[in-house]
Symmetry: C2
Subunit: 86 residues, 2 copies
């Protein structure tokens, strides 16, 4: 079976996020008010072939732990959904 | 009212994604099989103060169009949810 996967990473609470801070400081100069706590992370999307959703989730967790994310400074969330068969 | 916002950007279909391609090529060497179509984008999260959800969404669309995304090469999706009042 084929699954759509999204992995989102973001800096953990308390970890400096210079990109987010820069965006937040720039917004008022562009006329945008009321936006706070900007944090910038990455979004990975891909397809996985696996026997079932549990196997797909386990594979993606392993990929994240070994390759895509740095758990010391990043939180990540994994979303696995069955790919539509068109 | 306060809203949680997530903006996800990703390269449009047909636009080269060197980071995604590099990840995809590297996975078999790490022993991961069955992963395809890796695309890497960004995930922005922030809080917005606005009168209602429609106003928050309109503000975020404007921020995206003028600042966060490049619509020539990127698709983006916006998710606005009311912040939990703890």
């Amino acid at each position: 079976m084929r699954f759509d996967v999204q992995v989102e990473t973001r800096p953990r609470a308390g970890i400096a996020d210079p990109e987010g801070s820069t965006i937040e400081r720039s917004l008022p100069a562009l006329g945008f008010e009321g936006i706070q706590d900007v944090r910038v992370g990455k979004s990975f999307r891909f397809h996985v072939e696996a026997d079932d959703e549990a196997a797909a989730h386990a594979l993606v967790e392993d990929v994240c732990a070994r390759f895509l994310t740095n758990p010391v400074i990043e939180d990540s969330s994994i979303t696995v959904t069955e790919a539509s068969t068109v």
